[in-house]
Amino acid sequence: MIEIICNDRLGKKLRIKCLPSDTIGDLKKLISAQTGTAAEKIVLKKWYTVFKDHITIGDYEIGNGSSLEMYYQ
């Protein structure tokens, strides 16, 4: 189990517990459950890399305590 920090820099900062085997889509669902924003509207980024829904967290090599940028579309 790892913890990922998601920050939208607009007032929301989440610390989410998940598994490296979870996909980005799953992560987005978890985020939406916590914030109330629809999962489809969330864009997760790290610099200019937009994370795709069907790829797992482990494959992106996102580790424990790493932070992602959160945008809305």
Partner: protein
């Protein structure tokens, strides 16, 4: 800075289950403690990391242990080495006191002495052995047998007599010389002496050539420029002998001294004999101006056979008997036949096709029979001739019919021969007999007595046939020729007949015969022209019809009384409107027509006289107009004159045949233009 929102694991798990995800592994505090050591079963929070740390620790420990072991091993080795080093120094040294008095200085000296004695004994033994070996290998006469000595034997003998001993050494030589001659022995003193002698000789500068001295060496052989012998072949002049040779016994050991002396004396005597001077006065021989006949050898010239020359002129010439040949009986018999045979054979070559195979075959058969009848020729010429004739007969190539007729006594006349004889191109009748007569003499000469009549008769018959045929041919030809012009109409004269029927008919006929070919370009041009004409005619007709219609309409309007109700202005307005409508209709009609219109554009420039100008003239004309400046007076006059002449020529009657002008002149001009002598009318 906003607060971080975070859910607990339980809450997250609830959420995850609701979303259909795998719940997070929950680590209970008791479990985590229990399972801390067991890394494999550890499924708690950051278990992977812990596992990794444990792993790393393990690895680190292992490394440490290994290094520690290596270090220990090194230590052990060092300790062992040190122990070994000190082990060597064990025992009593020279400076140490003897431990149990086993060896003191006196004893040591004794030992040393004993040892020295032993060594000396050994050395002595060795020396003795070597001496024995040396004694065993004695250097004797045998060993030097076969060696060459580079001096004369006499010198050794002299030295021996003088009681001197000679020391011989191996001579200095290059490798080449060694390979060539082998080892050579030499006494240094003697060699030196010889060299000195030679040098002194050279210093004397004796004249090389003496006119009266005969150049004879000690062996009595005559020499040619003997002074160079040594330089050419250095071995030649040198005296040398081999040990163990004929003289060796005497020279080396000196045992058989008396005998050797005898032999030597003999040798000296021999030599003296050779170089003895005869005291007799030699007879002087006068040199003769002439060669001695006995010494002269005359070379006999071989008789050349006169070669029979072969002329290249003809094969028959080659067969003619040579003048030197002996004439025998068979030749006599044959003599009359071959000479005339050459005549017709030359003519054979002129015609190179076989007229009748059957005939040829029969002829060859007959010839062979005739040859068989002849005697067997003894001379090769005859045989050759016969072979040649046979070959010709067999080949059957290039044999004229007439000649065949002559040789054949029984000529068979059948349809094929007749046909073939008549196949020849018809010749003028008056020339034919002449040629026949010219050929006949040779034939008659060749033929036997009975043949001429036959032949003559044959030829006559032949000729008669030919003449008959030819007369027929002539008649036909004349007929054909007379009838020909009617059909062809290719000449100007004959066209008059057809012209009576009309030009259209003539043209149609020419077309039919393919004499008149239409140019496709001109065809298209013509069609275009026609269509344009048609278009213009239609246009004119259309305009007329429109006009007519308009008039009718106007009349109708007037009659209907529309105008009466209108004022003058209104009337005018109405009329204008009507006109406009009509114009529009007409324009529309024209537009429709113009869609089919294909204009044939042809630019034509006419000058002030209405003449057509060619491109060059037109350009000049336009250029003058554009610049507002014409050509000068002389040029203008020239041009005017030319135009005048042209007009005059055109004005003259076309049919006036006299002079340059008229139809004939025109034709001539045209011919000149085309580079032809005449002009084809059709």
């Amino acid at each position: 800075m906003p607060e971080e929102q975070s859910l607990s694991i339980e809450e997250t798990n609830k959420l995850r289950i609701s979303l259909g995800l795998k719940p997070l592994p929950v680590e209970s505090p008791s479990d985590s403690n229990a399972n801390k050591g067991d890394a494999d079963d550890d499924t708690g929070f950051d278990a992977d990391e812990r596992r990794a740390v444990a792993n790393w620790q393990k690895r680190q420990d292992e490394l440490e242990k290994a290094s520690f072991r290596a270090h220990q091993r090194e230590e052990i080795r060092k300790a062992k080495d040190a122990a070994k080093r000190f082990a060597k120094l064990e025992g009593t040294g020279l400076g140490d006191e003897p431990v149990d008095g086993e060896e003191d200085a006196v004893e040591w000296v004794k030992r040393m002495k004993k040892r020295q004695k032993k060594i000396a004994k050994k050395m002595a033994e060795e020396l003795a052995a070597r001496d024995a070996a040396a004694q065993r290998v004695e250097y004797t006469e045998k060993d030097v047998r076969g060696l060459k000595v580079a001096h004369a034997e006499e010198e050794f003998i002299e030295a021996g007599a003088g009681g001197q001993s000679m020391v011989l050494t191996l001579k200095d030589a290059t490798i080449d010389e060694l390979e060539e001659e082998g080892d050579e022995l030499e006494n240094v003193e003697l060699g030196e002496k010889e060299r000195l002698q030679k040098r002194l000789e050279l210093k004397k500068k004796k004249p090389v050539y003496s006119a009266y001295e005969e150049d004879v060496d000690e062996n009595g052989e005559r020499k040619l420029l003997g002074q160079y012998d040594e330089e050419i072949d250095p071995k030649k002049g040198r005296k040398k002998f081999t040990l163990g040779g004929a003289f060796s016994g005497a020279t080396m050991a000196g045992e058989r001294g008396a005998e050797s002396a005898e032999a030597r004396r003999e040798a000296v005597k021999e030599k003296l004999k050779l170089s003895a001077i005869s005291l007799d006065i030699e007879k002087q021989e006068l040199a003769s101006d002439y060669h001695d006949l006995s010494t002269v050898k005359v070379k006999k010239q071989k008789k050349k056979k006169p070669r029979s020359t072969r002329r290249k002129g003809g094969d028959d010439d080659a067969l003619a008997p040579a003048p030197t040949e002996v004439i025998d009986e068979s030749a006599m018999e044959l003599d009359d036949t071959p000479a005339p045979a050459s005549g017709p054979k030359r003519t054979l070559d002129e015609v190179t096709f076989v007229d009748d195979e059957e005939l040829q075959n029969s002829l060859t058969l007959q010839r062979r029979l005739a040859l068989k009848k002849r005697k067997v020729a003894s001379r090769p010429e005859d045989i050759a001739r016969r072979f040649k004739e046979e070959a010709e007969a067999a080949a059957g190539v290039g044999i004229k019919q007439e000649e065949d007729d002559d040789e054949e006594p029984g000529l068979i006349i059948d349809e094929t021969t007749e046909f073939v004889s008549n196949l020849r191109a018809p010749l003028p009748t008056e020339r034919r007999p002449k040629r026949q007569r010219s050929t006949t003499p040779s034939k008659t000469a060749m033929a036997s007595d009975s043949e001429p009549e036959d032949e003559e008769g044959d030829v006559d018959m032949d000729r008669g046939l030919h003449q008959l045929e030819e007369s027929e041919d002539l008649a036909q030809r004349i007929k054909r020729e007379s009838s020909g012009p009617e059909d062809i109409t290719s000449t100007g004269l004959s066209s008059e007949q057809t012209l009576t029927r009309g030009i259209g008919a003539t043209l149609a006929m020419l077309n039919q015969r393919g004499l008149l070919q239409r140019n496709p370009e001109s065809e298209t041009l013509l069609s275009l022209h026609r269509s344009r004409e048609k278009f213009q005619a239609e246009k004119r007709l259309n305009a007329l019809s429109f006009e007519k219609r308009a008039r009718v309409q106007r009349e109708a309007d007037r009659k209907s009384g529309i105008f009466e109700k209108m004022s003058a202005k209104e009337r005018e307005e109405y009329a204008r409107w009507e006109n406009k409508q009509r114009d529009i209709a007409e324009a529309k009609e024209m537009e429709r027509r113009f869609k089919e219109y294909k204009p044939a554009v042809k630019l034509e420039y006419k000058d002030e006289f209405g003449r057509e100008m060619n491109a060059k003239e037109a350009f000049k004309y336009l250029s003058h107009q554009f610049h507002g400046k014409g050509s000068g007076k002389a040029k203008t006059e020239k041009r005017l004159k030319r135009i005048d002449e042209e007009r005059k020529r055109e004005a003259k009657s076309a049919l006036q045949g006299t002079g340059e002008e008229g139809m004939v002149g025109g034709l001539r001009e045209k011919g000149k233009m085309k580079g032809q002598a005449g002009v084809r009318l059709m």
